[in-house]
């Protein structure tokens, strides 16, 4: 069983479209994240949710809207896609209980290409 799974893994779409990426974790973790990795491999945090509550919202355009229906899921919806949104988007989760060191568990990434 995959611990953190993202769908789709590849997404090619036209500018102006709206798309969603789904993420699910079966680790029982409390905290989930979305990261964006650009063409230079730089990993930048976008959002973080703890127990379904938004706790980190970096300077991300409001075309990006995360949704956490429960603590095992964190989906990312992107409106009006732009060329600069092309990247690999990683979902990750961690447990912040005292006995854990908070290792991030990553999904396999979703490569978004905007034409």
């Amino acid at each position: 069983d995959t611990a953190v799974s993202q769908t789709p893994k590849y997404l090619v779409t036209q500018m102006g479209n709206d798309k969603s990426i789904k993420c699910e974790q079966n680790l029982g973790h409390d905290t989930m994240y979305w990261y964006k990795q650009d063409s230079k491999k730089f990993l930048k945090i976008m959002f973080s949710y703890n127990n379904k509550e938004l706790i980190i919202n970096e300077t991300v355009p409001n075309r990006f809207s995360p949704k956490s229906p429960d603590k095992a899921h964190l989906n990312l919806h992107i409106n009006s896609l732009e060329l600069g949104d092309s990247a690999v988007y990683f979902c990750a989760s961690s447990s912040d209980r005292e006995w854990n060191t908070g290792e991030l568990f990553f999904g396999e990434g979703s490569r978004l290409t905007v034409l």
């Binding site: 730089f42 990993l43 945090i45 973080s48 060191t101 290792e103 991030l104 990553f106 990434g109």
Partner: protein, 112 residues
Amino acid sequence: AQTVTQSQPEMSVQEAETVTLSCTYDTSENNYYLFWYKQPPSRQMILVIRQEAYKQQNATENRFSVNFQKAAKSFSLKISDSQLGDTAMYFCALKWAYKYIFGTGTRLKVLA
């Protein structure tokens, strides 16, 4: 503000040799963790090693070890007996509270 700096964009090492990847960080937090993650061409992010800031002893995982210098805010990764499968991007990461930030990565190539 917290920062993580990896000053070596690319490195190469001969198979079976030892290589050290550098990482420096800055934080005002007392309670934090440091990690090295590996990203092979498959793009999967894999934890290599972790270090709790309150522990003085350097972490070791098989061929991977760190040199954690808390006062200098330095956290380097040493890979011994390098293998072809170690070829990957390596990211240093700092965690405090719910937040993680990553360095810009070092691309390591192991040469046969």
